[in-house]
Symmetry: C2
Subunit: 212 residues, 2 copies
């Protein structure tokens, strides 16, 4: 078995994430392994993609913040997406280098689940309100456990993904006057409008009340 190695998560990653918890460093470690196995450095610009198999309506998604920070595949640069499979797994895809998937081993998930930290979380207590020694213990468990015990890893030789071609072209909505990138301009009785003005919003998101 590979020897345990104390992994450091830089202070700025904790700062970004906002609280101390075990799943952010799990994602950070996944990212470090993925970069190494694909033979690339952290990505400063674009050209690689991270996928989280996490979804919504369950815990442990903090993994994604660690993975973004380690790999440089940030949500803002459109380099991170959720696949919504409800699994504690991440994929890193670097075109011409390949794709790797890391899954947090079920045995480690079982072991982690026994930690007192999760007794608090299941009561709805936020990480920043959990006693520091309880949090420290579970974070140390994550940082001190060997890669081999943490992750099942597999290369995905046929994996592929592309973003649509980008364009700087934009125009003004004929109703509200705001700029809209062309891809998202919609037509209403012959006039170009933005999606909210056109009332072409997704029905799943009821966030538009009050936006007019």
């Amino acid at each position: 078995m590979d020897p345990p190695a104390k992994i450091m998560v830089p202070d700025w990653v904790w700062e970004f994430h906002g609280h101390t918890c075990p799943f952010m460093p799990i994602g950070y470690r996944m990212g470090i392994v993925a970069l190494r196995e694909l033979g690339v450095d952290r990505i400063g610009d674009h050209g690689a993609f991270g996928f989280s198999e996490m979804g919504v309506g369950h815990p442990q998604t903090c993994m994604m913040d660690g993975f973004m920070a380690a790999t440089g595949c940030t949500y803002g640069k459109l380099m991170m997406e959720r696949l919504n499979y409800g699994k504690v797994a991440c994929i890193l895809f670097v075109p011409k280098k390949g794709a790797i998937r890391l899954y947090l081993k079920s045995e480690f998930q079982d072991r982690l689940g026994k930690e007192e930290f999760f007794t608090y979380r299941k009561k709805g207590i936020e990480p920043s309100q959990i006693p520091a020694e309880v949090t420290r213990k579970v974070v140390d468990l994550v940082l001190d456990t060997s890669e081999g015990e943490l992750f099942k890893q597999e290369m995905l030789p046929e994996f592929t993904f592309n973003r649509p071609r980008g364009s700087f072209s934009k125009m003004k909505c004929s109703r509200c006057g705001e700029y809209v990138f062309e891809r998202y301009v919609r037509m209403v009785e012959g006039r170009p409008e933005c999606i909210p003005c056109a009332e072409y919003t997704q029905t799943w998101v009821n966030v538009l009340k009050g936006m007019q």
Copy 2:
């Protein structure tokens, strides 16, 4: 007009983002304004939501990284989503406090678009490869311009949003044996399977080749 005020973006935010560009600090400034106007501090745990009106297939999405960093509404904590309207705008929603929308004024978008930085970007040159003095000039423009010149802001009194109720319950996929949060378990001939094993993946994403 409000006086220009030199806004500092902390070093760790640049570190997270990975390169120097003007839209990350625009998002950061949007986040700072949103927090102040709603009367809340940066959110370390959960309980607030950021929405970007950005989509895909266009530039300037880096705004989202700055907004996440400033507000603490990170993608990993499920506190940030795209609305895909193709607009340079962000919304911060804090239940019981309200929601605020900030749009980067069209006049400022026009002014920014004349910067040499975008001549490089339109040629497909990555931010890290653009001469530092060109990048510095456009970033300084963003940091030195007053809030009033940058943003149109509006409160959204009826705005509402909720995540589905969370659950820690999970079970193992009967095919691959990996853990799946219950919400994402699917049935295949009476057996519980994960979405990839069930081949119930979204057809828009062709990323699954090679995952079996």
